[in-house]
Structure formats: C-alpha cells, structure tokens
C-alpha cells in the first residue's frame, strides 16, 4: 500500500514499490542474461568441404542434395540454417558427420566468442 511517509516526501519510493522494482530489475537482468547475453549461431564448413571435394561448385552440390544454388550460397554465408534432413544430406555428400559440417558458435552481444 502506498503511503505518504518521509521517504516518499524526499523523492524515494515506498518499500513495497521499491521491492517490486528490485524484483523486476533482477528478473530483467536474468532474462537478459539468459536470452540475449549469449547468442547461439551456427557456423559451418560447407564451403571448405566443397572446395576440398575437387572444387565442387555450389550448383553441383545443390543438384546432389536437391536444392537451389542460392540455398547453398545462403548456408555458406550463414544466412540460413538448413533443416536436419538437409544437413544430413550435405554430410552424406562429403562423407563426414553433421557435427563436422555444422558447429554451435556462441557469441556474446558484441559479437565476440
């Protein structure tokens, strides 16, 4: 309940309100740390594997896995994370494990690992 005590007259919040504010601030900090502090990107080595495989072109790889060249281009640039099915197909083409092609790349808010 909001009172009209000394603290309020001096520009401070009553205890109940300031307690609420602290809770909200803590919740915000926890939420921020959990959801925004560590951004998970997926890095991939598709391009490296493609070049190691007799400098296979994007179109050849696209034909092998049944997608368009633009999709391979988007994956290589990190603009698109493929579905599990497509990731497995790509891994099969290069005869490697999926983890070798795609890795979790954790970055903080400033883009640093």
């Amino acid at each position: 309940m909001l009172g009209h005590g000394q603290g309020e007259r001096q520009g401070r919040l009553p205890q109940a309100v300031s307690g609420c504010k602290i809770d909200l601030t803590l919740s915000k900090v926890v939420f921020t740390l959990q959801s925004m502090g560590a951004k998970q990107n997926v890095a991939n080595t598709v391009r490296r594997h493609r070049l190691l495989a007799d400098e296979m072109t994007q179109q050849e790889l696209a034909d092998l896995v049944g997608v368009t060249r633009q999709t391979i281009h988007a994956i290589e640039k990190g603009r698109y994370n493929p579905s599990v099915g497509l990731a497995l197909s790509l891994a099969r083409v290069f005869d490697v494990g999926v983890e070798e092609l795609f890795q979790l790349d954790e970055e903080d808010d400033h883009g640093k690992r």
Binding site: R47, R50, L51, E55, T57, Q58, Q59, E60, A62, G66, V67, T68, R69, Q70, T71, H73, A74, I75, E76, K77, R79, Y80, P82, S83, L86, G111
Partner: protein, 244 residues
C-alpha cells in the same frame, strides 16, 4: 560447371516467372478495364495457394522459409497501415480518404513489403540493393526514352540522370555502409523535395499520390539503405564464395 550455368540455374521458378509476367501484364491491362484486376490478384496468390495445398512443389526449404518470413512482414506492415487508417478515421472526422484508395494502399503496402522482404532474405542486402538500384535506373531510362522520342538531345540529357542509380549499385556491392548512408539520405531528400510526409499526414493523404510515392519510391531506397548498414563483412564473404 561454369559460372554461366550457375547463373542460369539461379533464376526464379517457372511458376514464379509466369505469375510475375501475368501480374505485370494484368497491371497494364487495368488501364483498359478494371475487370482485369482479378487477373492481377490471381497472379499474386495462385502460385502461393497451389504451394500451400501441396499441388505445386517447386521450392526448396530455403525458398519456403523466405516466402513465409516475407509473408509475416507483409502481415505486420498491412496491420500497421490498417490500424493507422482505422485510428485516423475514428479520430479525424475531416479525413478525406476514399474506401477504394485505402484498400489499394493496404494492398500495395502488403504486397510491396512482401516483395522487398523476399528479395532481402533471398539475395541478401547487398545484392538486393544492387539489383533494386539497377531496376530504378532502367525504369528511369525506359520512361525517358519513351517520353522523349521526339527529341534526341532531351532523351540523352535526361537519361544521364539514371547514372547515379547505376553508380550507387556499383558502390553498394563494394562499400555497403557508405552506400547505405547515401541511399537513406537520397530517400529523405526526395521525401523532403516532394513534401511526402507533410502530404501523407494531412487531412487529404491521397492528394497527389503521396503515400504511393512513399511506398514505391522512397520506401525501397530507405529500406535498402538500412539493410546495407546492417551488413557484416558480407562483401568479403560474398567475393570468396563467388570465387569458388
């Protein structure tokens, strides 16, 4: 295996090409009769409906994701415009905007947002900005050539005004951030020159077609500029990727 073959395979799907062609022809035919408008609507929605019902399987997962993302952006843009007009009609009783104009504007905003978002997600900011500027340049050239068939000098002189668009397209590929700033400033310059914002927020917003200028001309310039400012080292990656 060459690049020429890759470029040929990079074109849109046949259904998209047919839909796009019918869309453009339909827009042209509306000058003859508004009964051709359903043709435009069919071109815009039939390919998507066929895909949703599983009758047309011409897109891969990336293309489907891009289309759905663009659809969500179009939905948000359409909502914003509809809420803005709804509020304006309720609050401002002197608002002079016809029902038809508002509906057409919502359609154009939704469709154009979908189109820009689709291009941005599919090509990335640099290629989108580059091709958009090229398109602006070519449209400018086309209108100037057709409008000055009687005077060769006027045709050549006015066509030179397309050069900045082609120059910016080149700059956008190599130096995305400076190009982004130039695009935003260009958009704001034209908005100021045409008094666009003043007209859009007046009691007669559709006078002189200001909202359409905002969406079809200034919007793409500013959107491309903002997208280019958000590019992270894309130039280097793209060059490496293409060199492969």
């Amino acid at each position: 295996m060459g690049n020429a073959r890759e470029e040929n395979r990079n074109r849109p799907t046949l259904a998209t090409l047919i839909g796009g062609a019918v869309f453009i022809v339909g827009i042209g035919l509306t000058a003859v009769s508004w009964w051709f408008l359903p043709l435009v609507a069919a071109a815009a929605v039939v390919p998507g409906l066929l895909r949703e019902f599983g009758l047309l399987r011409d897109q891969d997962e990336f293309q489907r994701q891009v289309a759905r993302r663009a659809g969500y952006h179009a939905y948000l843009a359409g909502l914003i415009v509809m809420f803005a007009f709804s509020t304006a009609f309720r609050v401002e009783t002197q608002l002079e905007a016809g029902f038809g104009e508002v509906v057409e504007f919502v359609l154009i905003v939704s469709w154009f947002t979908w189109f820009l978002s689709w291009l941005l997600s599919y090509w990335g900011p640099q290629r989108m900005a580059q091709r958009l500027l090229m398109a602006f340049g070519f449209v400018w050239l086309l209108f100037n050539i057709l409008g000055n068939l009687d005077s060769l000098v006027a045709m050549v002189m006015q066509s030179l005004l397309a050069a900045p668009f082609f120059l910016l397209a080149w700059v956008a590929r190599r130096w995305p951030r400076p190009a982004g700033i130039i695009l935003i400033l260009t958009g704001l310059f034209f908005a100021n020159m045409f008094d666009t914002f003043e007209r859009v927020f007046s009691s007669d917003p559709f006078d002189n077609g200001a909202p359409f200028v905002l969406v079809l001309f200034i919007g793409p310039l500013v959107a491309s500029g903002v997208a280019l400012l958000l590019v992270r080292q894309e130039g280097k990656i793209e060059e490496q990727s293409e060199a492969a």
